[in-house]
Every structure is written in C-alpha cells, then in structure tokens.
C-alpha cells in the first residue's frame, strides 16, 4: 500500500461568489483499521486563510506546526497576515526543501486575497503548485472528488449554495472510498464570517 494511503484522507476546496469553502473527511485510520472519527485535517492560519493537509497524518501534523511557526514569524516581522498567494509559495518552498526525503502530504490552500478575492490551490508532495479557478481536491478519494466536483460545480455560488454543493461532492466521493469518510468537516469563509459545520454521512 502506498504511504499516501496509510491514514486515508479526503479534501476539497471550492470558490464561490466572494467566498470559498474547504471541506475534509474525519477519519483517521491505520490502513484497514479506523482509529478515530474526529480527526482534524483543516487548519486556520488566519481569519482569511485555511490550509488542509491530506496524506500521512504524522507529516500533516509536523508540516502544520512548521507552517504556523513560519506564519507567526511573518506576522511579527511584517505586522500583517500573509496573503494566500504568498502562503502557497511558502508551502511550496518548504515541501521542495525536502525534495529527496519528502513530507508525504498534499496540501490544499484556500484563502481570501486582496479585495477579498477567493484563492485556492493545491500542490503535490514536493511543492508543485496547481492553481485553479473553480475547485481543487486531494487525498485518497481525489479521483471521485474530481468527478463529483466537475459535475456539481457552478461559478459564482452564494455561501449557502456553495456549502450544499461542496458537502454533497465530499459525501458522495468518500462513500466510494473505504479509507476516508466517517462524516465531514466544512468551513465556509466570507469576508465577514467563518462558518464551521460538521456533516453526518455514512459512518463506515
């Protein structure tokens, strides 16, 4: 089994009208065994920037700690929050640093940039950025997620509709993947507020 499939994960981020949504599954497993059903994969860097980390859980935790560290230093030096584009470049650089001994993670970055324009991107485990205007996916359920998002996505959705769309895409994709699931965790971020919701799907 691939090291990327050791713990199981599913992540998706979508762009809406002046908002974005980022969602993940909640399963933490060790190959076929489920260890926990409340595992956190999406982390807040600042009010308008979220990062989701799929892949090997230990590397996701280590990488998250390093990213928070780097962002806090940036905040102290620059006296402001990092822009999502800058943060994506930072993550890419940190991953490429370990080119010949990589972190087995695929990050999904979502944020509101200048003038609250939504920004999403994903990258592979060695930092190859993939910018998208509509949606990005990562994890063991990524193939199903691509299909679900492609068919369900519409541009310029309002936050409520975006929430419904991303939730349906996530739940239907993880239902076809044995290594991810056990519910969902969805964040919908607009310039004024952040809404966090837990989804109940097939608990298996």
């Amino acid at each position: 089994m691939s090291i990327f499939e050791y713990n199981g994960s599913a992540l998706v981020a979508m762009v809406g009208k002046n908002c974005f949504a980022i969602a993940s599954d909640r399963r933490l497993g060790v190959q076929l065994q489920t260890v926990a059903t409340d595992f956190q994969r999406i982390f807040k860097i600042h009010d308008k920037l979220f990062v989701g980390l799929s892949g090997l859980a230990t590397d996701a935790q280590t990488l998250y700690q390093r990213l928070v560290f780097r962002h806090k230093l940036y905040q102290l030096r620059e006296e402001r929050d990092m822009k999502p584009e800058t943060f994506a470049s930072l993550v890419s650089a940190i991953l490429y640093e370990k080119r010949f001994g990589p972190y087995f993670c695929q990050p999904v970055i979502a944020g509101l940039g200048d003038e609250d324009k939504p920004f999403i991107c994903t990258m592979d485990s060695i930092g190859a950025k993939e910018l998208a205007k509509d949606f990005v996916v990562a994890g063991t359920a990524s193939e199903s997620l691509y299909g679900a998002c492609e068919s369900m996505f519409k541009p310029d959705m309002e936050p409520e509709e975006l929430f419904e769309t991303i939730s349906q895409a996530l739940l239907s994709s993880v239902d076809r993947d044995c290594l991810s699931g056990w519910g969902g965790h969805v964040y919908v971020v607009t310039p004024t507020e952040v809404t966090e919701r837990i989804l109940k799907g097939r608990m298996d």
């Binding site: 933490l28 065994q33 260890v35 859980a57 230990t58």
Partner: protein, 217 residues
C-alpha cells in the same frame, strides 16, 4: 503479540498492557511491566520493539521530571503527549550512523514504539492520547495497539460509554481481555491494569492466567 489499550472514564483514565517479554518463540518472562509512570499523574503504556520501548519511555519519563525540576510545575498531559510526538517525529527522519562497522553511512533510526498516554490534570480532568510509532498524535476516548486491538477496539466500540465508573470500565477491560485470550492465536496470558485519577497514577490490578514459576523446591 503485544497488546496495549486504554480508555477514559468518569474522572479517571486507565491503560492495560500485556506482560509477556518475548524473543522470537521464547517467552522470557510473563510479568513484564510495560506501563510506565511518567509522573504522579501520567501513565505511558508502550508496545513495540523491547529495547526501544524501555529506552524511549524512560527517556520521556526523565525529560518530564527535568521539566518539573527546572520549572517547578509539572507538564500537563497534552504537553507531555506533544513532547513525546516531537521526539518520535524528529527521530523518524533524523539520520544516525549505520550499525555496520567500518561504514560511515547514515540512515534514519526511528523508534518502533506505539504509545497510549493517559493522564489526569486538575481543572481539565482525564485524557488519553494515541501516539503511533510514526508520530501520529490524536486525543481519544479509547485507544488500542497491536493484534489485540482488533478485538479490544471492537469490544470497546460496542460497550464503551462516556463517563463510566471504575467498576464499569474494569468490567469492559475484562471483556476485552477475555476476547483477546480466546480469539488471538498467540495470546498473551497475563495483563496489567493501571489507573490514573485525581489521586494519582497507580497499578490497579493484574490479570494472570499463568504465574511465573518460582524456584523449584
């Protein structure tokens, strides 16, 4: 096959571990204590390679004590868990010299220890942490490692409730032990149960089905 498992109850947490020290097909001893007392209110049950298990848990125990000496206050359970994870994560990719003599090659030398960390903190209550050998950390209500986990986790999923009393939890532990003994092919005969609550961490009971032979008369 080493079995370690644990659960959180009402104002306490407990950790159970088998007590067989095994080398290939030989059982060296069957009253080995695999649950270390990190400090007055923390328990660390570990399973995995015997050398790493003993050395690493002792290393964590001494560092927890050092913090207490330096700072005058003990570490919280969460802090101890994160420290343990940090040490495992560092060792995971840090390169050390290969064991073969005459070579100066380096390769990573990770600790092969799976840990269940239980603790009680004033104001926070009991907590349990699952830390596997590749440094995955997660706060849980019930945890298990090893082949025994297939049975104990299933038993706990069926019977565990939040805020169980000590008696109810021990009943569940006994159910798990019975399941492991009857269904695991090379099941360890003896188990030790340790508990931690507001009064501290201590040994609660042994469950022995094979006693070590004393000197022959």
């Amino acid at each position: 096959m080493e079995c370690v498992f644990g659960m959180v109850g009402k104002e306490f947490a407990l950790v159970v571990a088998d007590s067989s020290a095994v080398h290939s097909i030989l059982v060296h001893k069957s009253n080995e204590d695999k649950i270390m007392l990190l400090d007055s209110h923390k328990l660390m049950g570990a399973s995995g390679e015997p050398g790493d298990r003993a050395q690493f848990t002792e290393y964590v125990q001494k560092n927890v004590a050092l913090y207490h000496f330096r700072n005058g206050i003990p570490l919280t359970t969460a802090a101890a868990a994160n420290f343990t994870r940090g040490e495992l994560a560092t060792a995971l990719r840090k390169e050390a010299e290969k064991k073969e003599k005459g070579q100066n090659e380096m390769e990573p030398n990770p600790y092969s220890v799976n840990i269940v960390l239980a603790g009680y903190d004033k104001g926070i209550g009991p907590s349990l942490y699952y830390i596997d050998y590749i440094a995955t950390l997660h706060k849980v209500d019930k945890a298990a490692f090893g082949y025994g986990s297939y049975f104990s986790l299933a038993m706990m999923d069926r019977h565990y409730r939040k805020d169980m009393s000590v008696e109810e939890a021990i009943e569940l532990v006994d159910k798990c032990i019975i399941e492991i003994r009857s269904r695991l092919v090379v099941a360890p005969p003896n188990f030790v149960i340790k508990i931690v609550d507001k009064d501290g961490a201590r040994e609660y009971a042994w469950r022995e089905s094979v006693k070590d032979a004393l000197s022959v008369a």
